[in-house]
Symmetry: D3
Subunit: 245 residues, 6 copies
């Protein structure tokens, strides 16, 4: 069996992580997982939401959206419909939780980072690409805040790294990093978010067609953990180079 | 160690499943997991949404909501705010997917079942109680539709049963069926949806405080699978008695 | 002539008033007028809306809503539609005004009570059941606030009691407390809110088919006044027993 | 005792009914009750809403609104707020019901008349002025539709006339047709809608400060009935002159 | 060639400017350009929006709207649709910018003037009539504020006058102040806002059918400038008489 | 005097027009005017909006939006706010009108093209870059539709080309193609849309600080016309190369 793009079952698509994409954002990453392209902009502001004021702790949140023609057929804009759809809400919340898992709020101080993840082109795995790219944008934004003395240089707001990948069972085969065409044919679809040290932040498995057994779950988790480890390496490599501003 | 209500770690709260609660709905179940009470009403209508017309296949969907004072402090109504929150969206989608996992659309024919799950009183586990109760309401609604000849008696729209339970690691201990006070103290929180034959429909694990390791995940899955099996027994028992209409 | 459920024209349906229904609300009443069931939760908060701050006076307000399948055919959720319908607005305002008619704002002090009246099952007379039940929930909430010293024990925020009932002319006959099937056939429909001492708080009469003459109005008012008196007795009886919290 | 504008208790303010105010509407009336000015435009369209199609019956509905600076302090526009307030909803519904009370749907045929009542300047009694003016606009619109053969000349869609007035108890005195300053000081406030033959279409009495007794209600109904009769005469006089188009 | 109403190409429709139309607004003008009638109410409040507080400078803004039956066929209310249309937004912004062009914010002090321009009847040129009338309402409102000592009498918040007119090329002919029937037939349509000393505040030219050449643009600008000068004279004349309040 | 980026007053910023940017859209252009980057996606669908059905004519429309962090400080998403702002509406309408000016609806046939112009990074002139890029995307989309036989190859839906540029008077100097920092300091700001043959489609001049005189307007129009001509050349050059799909 070979995949539509010739990959092996446990192979990621080509991944690129382009830092400093936008000149305005404190952290700005254009991440691509194959044809999936997500622009992840991190905005830092001093202060925190009202319910957190005076706590000495910071906050990190995320918003996910798709351009109307990121997909094969045009979708109506949520701004025009006047309401955010359930899928958008669900993914925005997932991204926010995933990034907060590696944040030490005390070390961040009363600062807020908003991660805007806008899908410019979609081909499956937009939420996992978004998390993977947003982590890098977040790291750049925190470094910027330390340069600007919003956060003292000795502080360590990041407690680790975080990346994410999708896995699924397609035609009986467990596959890593599904493209859109694979995703729609998957019996089971799972999104896994891991820290760089191999622990889990989120595991979301869904039976699309058939309920799945414990051993299938185990196979998918193995596949995902390996994929996340590989992505963590790519994140590290991307962050290793100096960023000109 | 003992839990706030004296349960063992692997013990469910007292569960009641009261069928025929409302006289109007085709299936109507008031389910309680301890102090969590959810009214699950199933409404059957002939026909399907526009995008499914002519397919010969049916549709099942769900909406979840909370009464404003279901919780300890009053929440604003989403109807008054004019928008549905992300949490509501996320849970409504989860319930819908969980029930569709045991539906054979062809056997259902071009009929739609809407499951309304309204939380009357909340004490943790509202989404898992909702799924568990909604399955029973769905079964009653389908039986009604077969009585009324909307679906032929020989058809089998349900391919299995589905139930759900929450598990979490609280103070280092893996616990089944968390109450609200346990839930807020959990390091890891997981909602698991299983079929009656022990397979998984949804696995949603979230690191609330600390990322979790693979063996913790395994312990939680064991705990959840046993809880779901017990709930499946309670569903069967509830459905075994005749329902007066 | 006999009514569909065998009542005499001047007979109420069986009324039950169950206090302490929800464990969270400061006052919580499940009221039923026959098959009409409304959950009335009273929430007490210290402080008042901005426009009333510093006045030394409290505030009481109400919100009415129906579960989607409270009625014979499912209605769309107002939260999903993104807007509150005219009928909902109208009834919420009526309930609020009715309860405020027996409140002494000075005695209440700068506290707010919100009454949430959610119709779990509808069979006519939902607004009158809501007012009748909400009064009892309000009384319990105020008693709670006095126990908690939010309001001094010597204060008397309630100046009286309030109850409500519908009346109408159906097929030429004046009837008390209409069920849904009677309501849709009524020529004239009137909702009357009275204090326990027999005075009027609201009189809302509507010609559904034919304009009505003064003597018909008088007959309906007599009928309603007697019904309200009976309901006031039931409220007193319900409040006479001690409420365990 | 004398009223702020020197009227006797049972005296209406000066009422003007100016027909043909707008060149576009099929019926267009600028009605004034003293300083309260409401523009009532009736729009006729062939056809009826979807739920009424094929019934052979027509429909009449109304929308009420206020210009932002119709009142003493500017109110935010409901279009800007993105939602219609409860008061607007309540009054729109009242106007619609009042006019439908004198419509024979069969005689109207499958035509719809929408009454837009926009308050240009408010000084109390805007809803009663709106009903009184809208009736005249409706009569003109129906006459227009008969001229244009949308409705056959032999048909009688109007079964009577309808007018409305407010009454209230202010400082112990029952007063007819309250101005804004009287309205805010009223203990009881009542809006009464009558047909030209002296029967009631709507009676809406509200205790603003003190509950009211049966004899107070009777006094107010007498006052209102006399006021409506006088208004019916003014409507007839206005309609007696030919309308140039 | 003659125009539908017999005007010459460079002739305005009859213009009336009626001050003091509403008793509530600090400035209130009913302006008509032929059958186009716009009620322009200016509301003065002490203080400025939050983003301007402490600046010592004032603010002027505008809202434009149409009554549903201002036009030949009834339009749905934006309040009922729950959103403001693009055309409304565009015109509200244009009116606000035009009036701010003659305001000295320092001289105005921390006061806000809101101009509500509500089209009661439309026949082309509603935005230009609105600007022309709103200027007069603004002048009256500022005079009122000076009388009431909100603004010191020695201040000069107005730096000039502003008026507006539409021009267009219809059937090859450049015409001033288009009626609706001319407007829909125009190849090019331009709205021009001028100060009383003949300079431009806004020039908005749109090719409706055919792109337009530079000399056509010049002809239209000449026509518009002359029209604005004439309107400035009418504004001056209107303001020359004393306003009774 | 020299500009912040060293350009001469009549010099455009570096312009790039990258075709085929997204794999999904029928026409997809990433246009940049210096640091302003706009992704212009053209989506073709068979059929037209309801109000145009059966006319044999097509339709072209546009939607403009900004990513939240396209600008120097983050803006709230319009989808989250639940409403589209006035500026967005105004620009979407401008882009739509500009493109429709070079469309022959008959030749387009009953097809619809939607242009989505999403600003990825903003530095002044986003609307003019959007129009300039959208024209190229539109041309590619129409060519695609002709390849796919949605439009016959012999048809000529495009009657010309269209491009746009901003001009303004900054510190007394007329400048072409303003960057953001120039734009905020401009006394007068003008957006001009021209066809390739030098005629005007839209002229929108606004006095930001001081009203402008006729000769200033003329200078700005000269500057803009030259800029548009230059842009038309760049569009032609971009379209001259073959587009791989």
């Amino acid at each position: 069996m070979s995949r539509i793009d010739g990959r092996t079952p446990q192979q990621l698509r080509p991944v690129t992580i382009e830092r400093g994409w936008s000149k305005h954002a404190e952290g700005s990453v254009l991440v691509s997982f194959g044809d999936t392209k997500v622009l992840c902009n991190a905005s830092v502001t001093e202060g925190v939401p009202r319910w957190r004021k005076g706590s000495g702790e910071g906050w990190v949140t995320a918003e996910y959206a798709m351009l109307p023609r990121a997909t094969n057929t045009r979708g109506d804009r949520e701004s025009v419909k006047g309401r955010i759809g359930g899928r958008t809400h669900e993914i925005s919340r997932l991204i926010g939780r995933s990034l907060r898992a590696v944040i030490d709020y005390k070390e961040l101080g009363e600062n807020t980072v908003v991660l805007d993840c806008d899908v410019l082109q979609a081909d499956g795995g937009t939420r996992t690409a978004a998390i993977t790219g947003a982590y890098v944008a977040l790291a750049d934004a925190i470094a910027w805040a330390q340069t600007k003395k919003l956060i003292r240089a000795s502080r360590k707001p990041l407690t680790g790294t975080v990346s994410a990948v999708s896995v699924g069972i397609v035609g009986g085969d467990p596959l890593l990093d599904l493209r859109y065409e694979e995703d729609v044919r998957a019996d089971t679809d799972m999104n896994v978010v891991c820290t760089g040290d191999g622990r889990f932040v989120e595991v979301q498995g869904t039976a699309e067609a058939e309920p799945f057994a414990r051993d299938e779950l185990n196979t998918l988790l193995d596949l995902a953990a390996a994929g996340c480890t590989e992505l963590a390496g790519l994140q590290r490599a991307a962050l290793d180079t100096a960023l000109e501003r």
